[in-house]
Symmetry: D2
Subunit: 420 residues, 4 copies
């Protein structure tokens, strides 16, 4: 059996975790049951580079139910849940991942997936696509297409497309409304506070929370902060978003002005060095810094290190920095080393949110199978009907029924003359 | 002096109303001050068919400050504020409008505006553009372009464009983020309840409010209903929006199921016959129906009439329908005859919201002047920079300062390689 | 027929208004139906000094249904709804009230009620009780007791009780939870913004609203401000309430600091001179002042007058004050002359809230009838069971069913030993 | 040195935890600094039976700063944080507590505290008072008084008072507004969801959350549920509270009706068997049950066991019950064995909330010292001035300044004549 996991004996625990995930991913399970009948992936191999979590486990099961053979590596050296990996390995899946894997193992594992000669690739950050284009060009003729989960990966792919370096069709799954309107807003909103509370156990009510960035993530974070009783300040660079934040009742100002008011600072901009020593120097002693953006560059941690006299870990995921010395030293707390707080101190997005995202992945694969003959080596967005199908699947599992347009209503909408 | 208004002696009242509007449209006033210096509309005539309200009065003043000559008719026989019209007439502007104007006067007035031979047209529903194309083709060569405010108007123009019937460039002002994200969401959200409260004086807290449609308008209405203490039910036909409503904590169901639960029903779908007798028959006695969508077709008022034994007006904008007879008759209240409740029972959108929309109109005119030589007889969306300019103007008047990207941050955003 | 109203021909309009009130006071109607059978007030006269509104009309009908004869004067020279008075007069009730009655008529009318020799009195501010004690002591032996609606009236009565000047038992209806937890919080919260919107038509979203006082009224106002998208600042003198406001996510500061930040100021403290020229001088030009407290003394209107160079009414209930002169004059808007904004610019509390308060009045009368032999000339609070009865009546009309304690649960609650 | 702790080498970790607590209990630290100067507890011994947590550690330090000698046992066999106990022991404090102590050790430790002959007692549940009255009556003459934290304890003490069994004065600290308005509402509200998320990692948005009980705890839980995007149902037995819940926009119904709708059930009633098999049988498969009330009797766990075919622990604090067998078995998840979810799966109340409660404890001790000569063997509530002092201390540390009544305002409030 081909696999490389930390400890195969964790499989039983992994089974429990996956059962818990399944219970909260009903739309994907519905799709799984459908695939069991239609077998869209019969005789196909799917290669994946994704976070190896319990939710990904359910995606793997869904693809296999559809007839696929699956090989999977991780897309991040730190995010693997070893129990899940063990469970998948035990089930005979080619899984190559362990939590805290070395850089060389990380790339070796991706190579091992490519070596399985997949017909479809699924990526989160584009590393598998990159590996195949660079080192396994021979397998490309057998590849139907690939799916990419992240904005970052899409940027990379579009650049490849522009330079004619892209050699097979790719689906930008993140373009799905059922992905970015839900994952970023509801997922990040809640899990950011889950992470903060696990790390600190502080009271949010009455705190001044500064949210940097008012995109989908920032809007979700600000809404949950307000819902927990915080007084919220928003910083932005985009004037339209800044105006929305103001109309939503938040204080909007520059970070340099927010610095002296905030108790908790949360970055969600997608940009770097949003909080730098200039800001930190103005903060109150006891201020807490954390990040909910993709990479650990939003807070200038090196800068914080440089202006600090010392630091110490006082709780898991809580580092205390001393700025100045002795009794008058100012204290700044940094959570999770400035990495994604929801993944470092908590468990990332809830399964319910991944349910939507992974329905998108699974349906993107099916769409590639059905349409690959018409497709070119370009980046595609799925048709709106697939988004609606995902939403309908989810609504169905929530036992929510919605209205249908009558033919009279449909006619009205398509003929603009009536009603003027 | 050319004008046709109800009563010129209302001009003093109109001045007060316009002063009040100016005080709440600071961004447009800023633009006005800028136009005073730059005079972008020097030697140009601008013809308008818009609601003749105090806010429109400020727009007219702004265009004149920029050097324009203005002629204006109304775009709706019922929406003219006669004091505003009187004030504008007294100031020497060619204004043709009175509240409750006859159909023949309505069209006569639009013809009078066309007769002024405008170089730029501003429309809300496309009637002026239509009149010019149909009856005044000779003036088209002198026309630089036009602006259209509404979605309905845009649909009409795109149809003309497709059939090559459109003869000069048009700007779709409604495409501006500063228009549709603010006007529909914050404007309609608040003013719908303003209208309901003026009509009924009922307590919203504890009521079950059914919102039909979860687009920008419906989302704004649902949010304000919740903010006033209601229990909110949403009905939708689009599954993605229905799912959003569910994730936002609302009950989502078919109208036929919501019918028996609701105390107040508000339609905001843009479609017709969203509430029909089938629904009304299931409602509780005392249910209140109203509409916040563009046209008075969302509630099937004829259908309601047919199933009723009698009706009577019991307060301004409140009609009481009796379904069945005698002591057991069920009562249904219809507000504002099923017309836009915020305009029929209250004063429409607050000035602050029109501030953004009319900055869009004024800047669209300026953009036409600057770019018309490059433009074709097509429908255009303004560049994002104009949206940002409007938002910046508004933020400035709110004394809100926001961050600017550092060059390091700009570089990071444009180079996708870093950070992976 | 004994009555004194403005115009008896308004009775038909009054009937419509009372019908609307009845439709939104279902608990009181339930009680009315009960009284029709039990006739608790048979052979009794009830004298009232209350706001003569449509809701009071329903209370009058309820008492009459219970067998009472009723005589009523107003408790405020400005609050009478003339249509309601006309309707009641036409029905044969001894009603003495018109909107804008002179001071001499005001007191004459109260005397006329006393002259009817009531057996029970109902007061809002204690003027009828005072009149009877002072000028009609001979009728006191026939008086069973009285009810008082307001905190102010209660303070007056307790003072009389302390000085042994009180000669018959009084019920403090305001002590009912179903009165002060609902009327002040939900009633004032909503109707304050109803008044502001009718007066100004401004957008609340994005405004900074300063609420002075965080009692039941202030909490209700702050919550609705937030619900409409405002950024809320609270001022308080009581540290526990100030801390609650902070924990509820609001900015809390001194009025002198809030002055320069606020767009709209709302007073709800029950105290005088909460906003004075010192504060007004620090405000932004364009700030709006209004009051939701009982009396028009919370804003120092005389002080505002003194620092202003001129003023003018620009919309109904909106006065524009100029502070300083010429183009640099600062503008301050005062709404409703500093009187209760919900009553001056809108219609006061919604019927649904008065439903609870007037169930309290009606049940207080019944309780007096049943218990007067045991009562002394003191101020009484109704037993908790009556509060619960009112709440149950209301829940019943809302078709809400709630749980009942099992005998096991009742036993558990009364025996503290179990469970430790 | 007298102590009995699990592992003295945990002291360094304890120091970190206590440092973290201190940083979030600024009001208590202020009081500590004050006590350092005034030494109110000089020559006094204080005996405590409290949860031995990091926050309690700060209270112990505060009392010692005031000159006291302290001996402490736990008031619950499971709630001791062993690092904190180790740290206190190392500092020379007589601490007797370890997590998971046996019943005999539990009572032995309380006896050891009594054996120290305290002059003041501090209790959470009344066990130390009970022990002293029963087994150490000789030390009572030296006892100035005691403080009790919980409602349950107060009930016990009042019963002793009624039967003249109470032999020294007791302060009911829970009566402080700064205790029950904050601890129950903000503390329980947040920490309940902290516990649920740590246990389950589910998405709250879009879930139907059933909250049993709408007291201070239930109101806090419902508000946070709404703030996290849930659709909330409330069950109650008290009609006034039920009506409040309805007016707050929640669905209110019987538990038997809520049972089939809920996704998550949270009990906070203070009563027993609020959720029983009758309800569970109606629930959806996958429903999650948990408790936020004091004791683990709100959910009938034995009843759940009886109707289940099997159960298994699938994540820490998550037990999966199978009702019925095979593929059709219904699944019910029980969190934390039905014990307080915030303490079992998370860390209990945040330090900021305990800051207020423990200021109450420390000031109650000081009040006993100052007033004990006037006191009797009764249960006392602290004067309002102490509540205000606590709130002022806290506001001071939050750098919030509030208004003070002017003498004019004070006069107005005390003289009811003005303003009528």
């Amino acid at each position: 059996m081909k696999y490389s996991v930390k400890d195969i004996s964790l499989a039983a625990q992994g089974e429990n975790q996956i059962a818990w995930a399944r219970a909260h991913m009903p739309a994907l399970i519905d799709l799984q049951n459908h695939f069991k009948k239609t077998k869209p992936f019969k005789n196909l191999k799917i290669g994946m580079a994704l976070h190896v979590t319990k939710e990904t486990g359910v995606l793997v099961e869904t693809l296999i139910a559809g007839g696929a053979q699956v090989a999977i590596a991780s897309c991040n050296p730190l995010s693997t849940q070893d129990e899940t990996a063990a469970y998948l390995a035990k089930k005979g899946i080619a899984v190559f991942a362990y939590k805290g894997e070395s850089k060389s193992d990380y790339y070796k594992f991706i190579k091992l997936v490519a070596a399985e000669k997949p017909n479809i690739t699924i990526d989160d950050g584009c590393d598998l696509v990159y590996e195949i284009h660079k080192n396994h060009p021979k397998i490309i003729p057998q590849i139907i297409g690939g799916c990419e989960e992240t904005t970052t990966g899409i940027i990379r792919l579009k650049s490849m497309e522009r330079e004619s370096a892209l050699k097979y069709p790719m689906v930008a799954v993140n373009d799905n409304l059922t992905e970015h309107l839900f994952d970023n807003f509801y997922g990040t909103g809640q899990s950011t506070f889950d992470g903060i509370l696990r790390a600190t156990n502080i009271l949010i009510a009455g705190k001044t929370v500064v949210v940097a960035g008012y995109g989908d993530c920032g809007r979700g974070i600000a809404l949950r902060a307000k819902g927990l009783g915080a007084n919220v300040i928003v910083t932005e660079v985009n004037p339209v978003r800044a105006l929305q934040a103001a109309m939503d009742g938040y204080n909007v100002m520059k970070m340099v002005d927010a610095a002296s008011r905030g108790d908790i600072f949360i970055t969600a901009t997608g940009d770097k060095h949003v909080i730098v020593p200039t800001h930190i120097k103005k903060m109150k002693s006891g201020a807490i810094l954390c990040n909910s953006g993709h990479f650990n560059i939003e807070i200038d941690v090196d800068g914080l290190d440089k202006i600090s006299s010392s630091k110490k870990t006082i709780r898991p995921f809580v580092e205390k920095y001393f700025i100045g010395k002795g009794a008058n030293a100012k204290i700044i707390y940094l959570l999770g080393e400035g990495r994604l707080i929801n993944l470092s101190a908590a468990e990332g997005h809830p399964s319910e949110v991944m349910d939507l995202s992974f329905c998108g992945q699974a349906l993107a694969c099916e769409w590639l199978v059905k349409n690959h003959k018409k497709l070119h080596a370009k980046v595609y967005t799925l048709p709106q009907s697939i988004d609606e199908k995902i939403a309908r699947l989810k609504l169905g599992t929530l036992e929510i029924q919605i209205d249908k347009l009558t033919s009279e209503q449909q006619h009205y909408l398509s003929s603009w003359q009536e009603g003027t």
